[in-house]
Every structure is written in C-alpha cells, then in structure tokens.
C-alpha cells in the first residue's frame, strides 16, 4: 500500500461504498451490483490494517466542517466490521444473486456499510450522527427485504425505535456540543463531559440513543424480531457489525475517567440484566436466527454492563477501550459466522453435516467462553475492568450463554440437499469461521500490548468454566429426555406493547376523526344570515325628508361644536 496516502485511504473507506451505492440506482447496472458487494468494504479493511493510528483527515466542506480519524480502538472496530462485511458480502452476492430486489438490497447494503464505517471513523459528532443515521435508517430496508408481514411488523418496530434513538442522540449531541463551547469534535465533547458540572441528562440521552442500537435491555425489543427478519447475510452484519455502532458510540462518547456512581451502576444493572434475561429468553425460542439475536442482546448486555461498572468506578479509557474493542471484535466475527452458519445449515451437504455441526459448536463454545478459545481470551480480558462482581457475573453467564447456544444447535434446520453449497457461500462461511476463531489471537497483542497466553492458569480457567459445563450437561440431558424448551414469543415484551399501542392508536384515530370533522365545521364559516332590515335601513336613509332632518341635526351639531 505504499504510495497511498493513509488519509485518502480512510476517506475512501467511507466514500467507496457510497459510490457503489450510487451505481446501484442505475436501472441496468443496479441488480448486478449485488456481485460487487464484497468489494465495498475493502478500502475500510485496508485502512484498518495499513493506516497508522492517529491518521486524520478533515472534510471541511462536508456537513458541519467535519473530519475523520483513526486510532487503535477505531481500527479494531473498523477492521472487524470490514472483515465481516466483506465475507457477508461475498455470501450475499451468491445468496441473493437471483433475488428480484437485488438492486435495492445492494443499494442499502452499501449505504449501511458506508454509515457503519463512518460511525467508526467519525472525528466529529455531526459525521458520527450522519453515519449513525445512515446505519439505523438504511438498515430498515434490509430488515424488511422479503416484505413478509412479519418482516414488515419487525421493520415497523425497528424504525420507530431507531427514530427515537436518533432523536435522543441528536439532543445529546446538541447539548454536548453546547457544553463543549460549540465544538463538535468527539474528543472535545467527551473531555467536556468528563469535566465537572456535566448534566447527567446528556449521559442518559447518549445511553438511550446508543443503547437502543446496541440492544440495551429494555430497549432491545426490536432486535430479536428485526435481526432474524433480514436475509441471512444482512442478519450477520446487523448482529455482528451494526450493533457495534452503538457500542462504539458509547465507548467514544461516555466520559471515562470520572466516576458516575448512579449512572454507572444503573447502566451496569441494565447491561447485566440483559446478559442473563436475554439469554434465557433466547433459549426459549425456536427460530435459530431469533436465538442468535437474543444471544446478541445478551452479549451486548455484557459489554454495556462492563461499561456501567467502568463508569461507576471511574475507570480510565485506556484501561477499558482496547479490551472492549477486542470483545466486540470477537463477538462480531463469531456472531456473523453463526448467522451465516444458520444460512448454511439448510444447504450443507448431508454427508459432511457433522463437520458443519463441529464448526458451529466451536463457534458457539468460543462465544460462551470455552477455555483456550478466542472467546475465552476475550472474556478473560473483559473481566478485568468488570470488577469483582462483574467478573463473577460474567463467569456465571457462561451458563446462560451455553444454554442459548445449545438451543441454537438444536434449532438448526437440517434440510439436506445433495449438492454442494455454492462455493462462494461456502468460502465466506469458512473464512469467517476461521477469522472468528483466530482474530482475537492475532490482534490481541497489538491491542492490549501483551501477548495472549491462553494456556496460563489453564486449570483455574477450566474450573471456572463450570457454568459452561453445567450448561452443556443440562442441554444434553434435556435433549436426552426429549424435554421441550419453553416457548416465548419473539420479542418478549413486544406483543403486549403492540397491543397497547394498537389500542392507543385506535383511540387516537377515533379522536382525530372527530377532530377533523369538527375542524371542517369550524373552518368553513357559513354566510352570515341575511339581514332582513337592509332595505328598511337603506330606505330610511334614502328618504328625502329624513335626509333633511339629518342635515338639520348635523348642521346644528356642527354649529354647537363651533361655538
């Protein structure tokens, strides 16, 4: 990559997908652009790998005089996302090759990608906000891609919460920027928030706005319905990369280094609650993609729980960000691979199914934190900033994670075609599995500064992995006795909420209808009632004698006025 300016590379990361998106609009070229999807994240990947930390590039004409930059944390997020997008793109290129809405898919895929990349490299709040909006809103068409009623319903929930999140974020940024004396640089805003006298409202708006995207309990309700609704590759990026936009936002904006006992604790509680509850809810699902989506909520709950602890204890950024970045990378790739795997399950050749299940099991176990896996590496790292209680909780969460992933294994479809899956899909899946299982090891040193040592204290780790073992045993036992998992509706709270909303809307419409009709009656004023006396009035004035009398009176009046 010698000879390419890093800054240009960085900007290409965002603009290249946008350029591709424009091509998708062209009537002839559009449907074919689906095959170009794997090309879209390549500049981002290159930037994550080659551009040095601290690369900055101003975009003075764009938005509010914004800019982009790259540092280590950002590079991890960017790189992980780029890998996932590339491989998912490859998968999608084949998966949706003959789809009738391929052009649209490609268009929004590229747009979301651009937004996702933009979120990770935005140097200022405006660029971040724009990118975030791109991610949030343009993902909607991906969610409802198949136009099935369920998808549309899921999309509706998604878009409503996304808009609310946008608005909360908008308010937070405005207030943050105002507090920072009008500067919109993320660094300035964060430093200001870390200073004294910050309104906790800003914090909560940030948490709410970003938390929605990241599936923070109880704002997560859209996630378990939306992610599964999308086509497989879209689900992969949604769960793998796009939720990370929210996480990244939290990492980028929250005021690390100062203690926020109440806010921090609350966030921690919500996060850890999500970690467990979502996993349990996920274990009660029957659709593998839904199970995975709940797992995502659970995993993101873990990250946000750690964030909460860090906020409550005033942990400095340097001690937190790299670790969480690593965990995010691990989760993103693994979850992406799992989603692709769900897609592969129905096309995998019958005779090599065990190999497939092996791969899936490895991914699941890695995610649950089986010692020696990449997941264990990330989980071990994350226990550091999580504090004692947090670490304990994380350790115990392996049980719930294990259960939900076990549930996944049981729900995987088992259609058995007799021809090989398309090589592109195959390649994408396998590559992603490899990346998921190896990437944390590869970048560990670069991120945390120390070499990974997965074998250290192995025995202790194994002992500490008892919840996972328990989970496996429980799952096996359940399978053995043929016990059915309890059934929970997708999106848990969503259905009651939906019913309430429907009722409210019906009431509202009834109200607005009456309003509208009364409106009409008030705004079209009737002609004033005809005055029957007009003629008489006119006649009175027209009468000569009356005029003469009036004349005399007026003259008299004038005379007396003059005297």
């Amino acid at each position: 990559m010698i000879g390419i300016e890093p800054a240009l590379l960085l900007s290409a990361a965002a603009f290249w997908p946008l350029a591709l998106a424009m091509l998708c609009v062209l009537p002839k070229l559009g449907p074919r652009m689906i095959t170009a999807l794997p090309l879209a994240p390549l500049p981002a990947l290159a930037a994550a790998i080659y551009a040095p930390s601290g690369t900055e590039f101003g975009l003075p004409w764009l938005l509010l005089d914004g800019g982009i930059r790259l540092d280590d944390t950002r590079a991890v997020f960017l790189g992980g996302a780029a890998i996932l997008w590339t491989l998912a793109g490859l998968y999608a290129a084949r998966y949706l090759q003959n789809d009738q809405r391929a052009a649209g898919f490609a268009l929004f895929w590229n747009l979301v990608l651009a937004g996702n990349v933009g979120v990770f490299i935005a140097a200022d709040a405006a660029t971040f906000y724009v990118s975030f909006a791109l991610v949030s809103l343009m993902a909607y068409p991906l969610v409802i891609h198949d136009r099935k009623p369920a998808s549309l319903r899921a999309g509706a929930v998604y878009i409503v919460l996304a808009v609310i999140g946008e608005v909360a974020l908008f308010a937070a940024f405005l207030m943050g920027s105002a507090a920072a004396g009008g500067s919109i640089l993320i660094a300035d805003i964060r430093d200001t928030l870390a200073g004294p006298g910050t309104d906790p409202l800003i914090l909560w708006l940030l948490i709410a706005g970003l938390g929605i995207k990241a599936g923070l309990m109880p704002l997560h309700i859209w996630l378990p319905v939306a992610h599964p609704a999308a086509p497989v590759p879209a689900s992969a990026v949604l769960s793998g990369a796009i939720v990370k936009a929210g996480i990244f936002g939290l990492l980028a904006f929250l005021p690390w280094g100062t203690t926020w006992p109440i806010s921090g604790t609350t966030l921690a509680l919500m996060g850890f609650a999500g970690l467990f509850i979502a996993a349990l809810l996920g274990a009660a699902q029957s659709n593998p993609k839904t199970v995975l989506a709940y797992s995502t909520v659970s995993q993101m709950g873990l990250i946000m729980g750690v964030c909460g602890v860090a906020l409550a204890t005033g942990l400095p950024a340097a001690a937190l960000l790299p670790i969480l970045a690593l965990y995010a990378l691990h989760h993103g790739l693994t979850k992406g691979a799992l989603f692709l795997g769900v897609g592969m399950a129905s096309v995998w050749l019958r005779n090599s199914r065990p190999f497939f299940l092996l791969l899936m099991g490895a991914l699941a176990l890695s995610l649950a934190g089986l010692p020696l896996t990449a997941g264990a590496l990330a989980k071990a790292a994350v226990k550091g900033p999580a504090g004692e209680i947090g670490a304990a909780l994380i350790g115990f969460s392996a049980l719930t994670s294990g259960l939900v992933l076990a549930r996944l294994m049981f729900t995987l479809p088992s259609a058995t075609p007799d021809k090989n899956p398309p090589p592109a899909m195959m390649f994408a899946f396998l590559a992603l599995v490899i990346a998921a299982l190896s990437a944390p090891f590869v970048v560990y040193g670069q991120i945390l500064g120390t070499d990974p040592d997965p074998t250290a204290d192995l025995a202790k780790k194994i002992v500490e992995a008892w919840p996972l073992g328990l989970a496996v045993i429980l799952a096996a036992a359940a399978a053995a006795v043929g016990m059915q998992a309890p059934r929970m509706p997708e999106g848990d709270l969503l259905e009651p909420l939906r019913r309430t909303a429907l009722l409210a809307m019906a009431a509202f419409h009834a109200m607005s209808d009456t309003k509208a009709s009364s409106d009409i009656s008030t705004e079209t004023d009737d002609a004033p009632p005809a005055l029957t006396n007009i003629e008489r009035i006119q006649a009175a004035f027209a009468d000569r004698a009356a005029t003469a009398v009036a004349f005399a009176l007026i003259s008299g009046g004038l005379f007396f006025a003059l005297i």
Partner: protein, 492 residues
C-alpha cells in the same frame, strides 16, 4: 448602475408577468419559453450579486415615495439569501408548473400572477425599510389570491376568502404596528435598530404584539394558521411556491426582520418578549405536527407540516444569539427546498396517478419511483434525518437554544422530529412497501417531455436539499452563507 440592480431584480419578473398576461393561450409555447428564460436571467443576475455581496458590496436603491418615507431596496447578504432561494425555486417551479398544467385553460393569468408572486417575494426580501416590506408583503397577498382561487370551484373560493380574511387582517395589524412605532421613533430602516429607549415599555410590547401578530398570520403561527391548510385548494405548483417560498416565508422573514432589525434581539430579550414568542413558536411546531398526523389528505398533511416547520424559523428568531439566528436563516432556505420538493411530488402524484389521500398512496413508489425517491429525501429532511438539510437547521436551532440557555428547545425539536416521523414515515411505508391498489401502470417518468418536466424539478430540489446538508460547509452553501451574514455582525 449598481443602484439599479435591485430594481432589475424586480423588473425581470414584472416583465415576465406582463408578457404572460399578454400572450394568448395559443402562444403557450412562447409563454413557457419567456418564463423560463426570465427565470434563468434572474438566476444569473442573482449569481452576480452573490459574488459582489460576498465582497461586502451592498446595492441600494432609494426613493422617497411619500414625504418622510423612503422606499428602499437594499440587496445585502441576508436579502440575497432569500432572493437566491426564491429565484432558484422560481425556475424550478416554473418548469414544474408548465408540465403540471400542460396546455390547460387560464394559464396566461396563472403565469402572470405567478410571476407577480415572485416579484413580491423578491421585493419582500430586498426591502430596506419596514414600509417597503409592507408594500411587497401586501402585494404578495394580492398576487397569490388569484392563484389560490385559480380553479374557481367552491372550495377554492372558500379558501381564497379565508386566506384573504386572515392575511389582510394580519397586514392591517402589521401596518398599524409599523406606523405606530414609526410615529414614535422615526423611519424604520432594516439597518440598525432605532433607539427605542424613549418609548414606554408597555407601548413597545403592544407594538411588538401587533407586528408579530400581523406577520404571524402569514407565517402561520398559532392561532393564525387556519388559512394555510385551506389554501391547499390551490393547484400544486402554487402550493409548492406558496408554502416553500413565498407567503409563509415572507411572514417568517418579516419576524426575523422585526426581531433583529427593528427591535434588536437584545431589546426583545430585555422586554421579555423573546421567550413568549419562542413558546408560541414551539407550540405551533408541536401543534402543527400533531395536526399533520391526523390528516389523510396528502397536501393537507404537508400544509400542517409547513405550519410546524415554518415556526422553526420563528423559534430561531426569537432565541437571542447568533447560533439560533443561523438556524433560523438556514432553515428558511432548507425548509424551502425540502417543502417545495414534497409539494411538487404530491402534485405529480395527484396529477399522474390521481393520488390525493394518504390511504391511496400504496405502491406509488413502484409506479413513480423517481418522484417517490425525491419525496422520500424531502420527507427525511423534514424529519431531520442527516445528511439531508433539515438536520443542519435543527442542529443550529438546538445549539442556539442551548446557547441562549433554553434547553427545553431541545425537547421541542426532539418531540417535533418524532412527530414528523410519525406523519412522514407511514407515507413512505405505504408508497414503497405496499402493493398498488388500482390498476395503474407505472408512469414513464423519464420519457416524454411533460413527464420529465414534472418529475425532474422535484428530483433537482431533492438533490439540492441533500447537497445543502451534505455539503453544508461548502462555500456558498446556505449554511456558509448564513454564517457569513452572522459573522459580518448581522443579527447579533
């Protein structure tokens, strides 16, 4: 020579109007050509003025039209902002209108008044004194009335009556206000606020109420907004130009002028008037949005949306401080291009697919994809979705509110954004995601002269609103221009 450039700005539409009136319908092609050519020429002239104004050159033409009362046309930076907007949109709307009506009846009249409307809007923009402003403001009322009643049916006539009732009453209040104030402090030039110190506070407040009340009618401030939804009876190009540029903007622009040029933002704040006005604007924003949610007629929904959106400008004007002023001014432009996009699209849908109600919108995206794409961009902009221009306005308005210490503004903006979503997103949903109801064939939007002229203007403005947001920091972008104005010490 330079003193007459402002006059030239007015003369061009006047001549276009006269030619339009004069040419019979059999010469429609000539009329169309005239309109487009004049709009182009004016655009060039405005471009020249922009370059000059950037160098700090102001053009002024002054004429004592009555003893002690000067008629002043001044092309300064803030005027150019509005002039540029109206000129650009004039061209767009003209092209659109030509295609919209094709070769319908009574078009000589329509285009004549259309041009007069533009003349008035330009005049409002470049007025240098309160009384000059009033003259053009009234002319605007008069020039738009024939457009509102253009169709001549009962609905249009009612709308015209309501329109006049509201606006003329408002004008009278405004006139009373400026004359009263003028009687107390002398001529009211839009240059530096006059010394108001000798005037009793109560009088000042009363006059302010008269002025704002008068202008608030056109700006559709609560509770004077009632005419606007009714005026929807007018043909689409009229709604487009009326709502985007001409009438409501004149009111909002006038409020800006009153607050910043006649009273001065400081005085307004000292008198304790800024906050009530801001509250009123906020109430209008929320009320308009709420009402918009309830409408089934697309144009009415857009109209209530306008009620809401224009009050953003008022809100920005009422908050003391340069950032809010930037927000107000920039929203003047942004709302203009976004709303004209929406109305042109709505008109195109009604014209080609006979879609008038929200419930009929199903599948419109498949039948007229380009139009609906433009509509979508406009709608997203209205919601404040970045990077469409509306986001920039809201950003500055919110920052301005915080700068002024009025954090509740954020809540208003947030609430309004949510409501905007509530009334725009279902439209997009129906248009893009639901199957078409009738048996309409897709419209060949880009083939055939009329179709193209009907569809492309909206696409252009949609792209413009996208560009205005995306390239907000580009020199000559609305935001940059506004910042130039504010940096130059204006509106402080």
């Amino acid at each position: 020579m330079t003193a007459f450039l402002p006059l030239a700005l007015l003369t061009l539409p006047l001549v276009a109007a006269l030619i339009s009136f004069a040419l019979p319908d059999t010469r429609a092609a000539w009329r169309d050509a005239t309109n487009i050519i004049f709009a182009l020429v004016k655009l060039v002239l405005v471009g020249f003025l922009l370059l000059q104004a950037q160098g700090g050159v102001d053009f002024e033409w002054r004429y004592e039209f009555l003893p002690g009362h000067d008629f002043v046309l001044r092309v300064d930076a803030i005027a150019l902002l509005f002039v540029t907007l109206s000129t650009f949109l004039w061209l767009i709307a003209t092209i659109y209108a030509i295609a919209y009506f094709e070769r319908g009846p009574n078009l000589a009249r329509f285009f004549g008044f259309f041009n007069l409307c533009v003349l008035s809007a330009t005049g409002v923009a470049i007025s240098g004194t309160a009384i000059t402003f009033f003259s053009f403001y009234e002319l605007l009322t008069l020039a738009t009335w024939p457009l509102v009643v253009h169709k001549g049916d009962e609905k249009s006539l009612t709308a015209g009556r309501v329109y006049l009732t509201y606006t003329l009453a408002g004008s009278a209040a405004f006139l009373a206000g400026i004359l009263w104030l003028k009687a107390l402090v002398g001529p009211l030039e839009f240059a530096a606020p006059p010394d108001l110190s000798p005037v009793p506070t109560l009088t000042l407040i009363l006059i302010f109420v008269l002025l704002i009340g008068g202008l608030g009618v056109k700006a559709a401030l609560l509770p004077f907004h009632g005419w606007l939804p009714q005026a929807m009876a007018a043909p689409a190009p009229v709604s487009a130009l009326l709502h985007a540029v001409a009438v409501v903007k004149a009111g909002a622009y006038g409020i800006l002028r009153v607050v910043h040029d006649i009273y001065g933002a400081g005085t307004v704040a000292d008198l304790g008037l800024g906050l009530p006005l801001a509250f009123l604007a906020s109430a209008t924003i929320l009320y308009g949005s709420l009402r918009a949610v309830m409408q089934n007629d697309i144009k009415k929904r857009l109209a209530y949306s306008t009620v809401s959106q224009v009050s953003y400008i008022v809100l920005g004007a009422s908050l003391a401080g340069p950032i809010a002023a930037v927000g107000a001014l920039v929203h003047l432009v942004h709302q203009g291009i976004m709303k004209i996009t929406l109305f042109m699209c709505a008109g195109a849908l009604a014209n080609r697919l006979h879609i008038k109600a929200v419930t009929e919108l199903d599948g419109a995206g498949r039948l007229m994809p380009v139009t609906m794409a433009s509509f979508t961009i406009g709608a997203l902009g209205m919601i404040g979705v970045p990077p469409v221009a509306g986001f920039i306005s809201k950003w500055y308005l919110g920052s301005g509110g915080l700068e002024a210490g009025d954090a509740w503004v954020i809540a208003v903006l947030a609430g309004s954004s949510l409501l905007n979503s509530a009334y725009f997103l279902p439209l997009l949903y129906r248009a893009w995601l639901l199957p078409p109801q009738g048996d309409h064939a897709p419209v060949a939007e880009l083939t055939g002269g009329w179709n193209r002229m009907l569809v492309l203007p909206a696409a252009v403005t949609a792209l413009a609103s996208l560009g205005a947001g995306l390239f907000a920091s580009f020199p000559f972008s609305p935001l940059e221009w506004v910042s130039l104005i504010v940096d130059a010490g204006y509106l402080r």
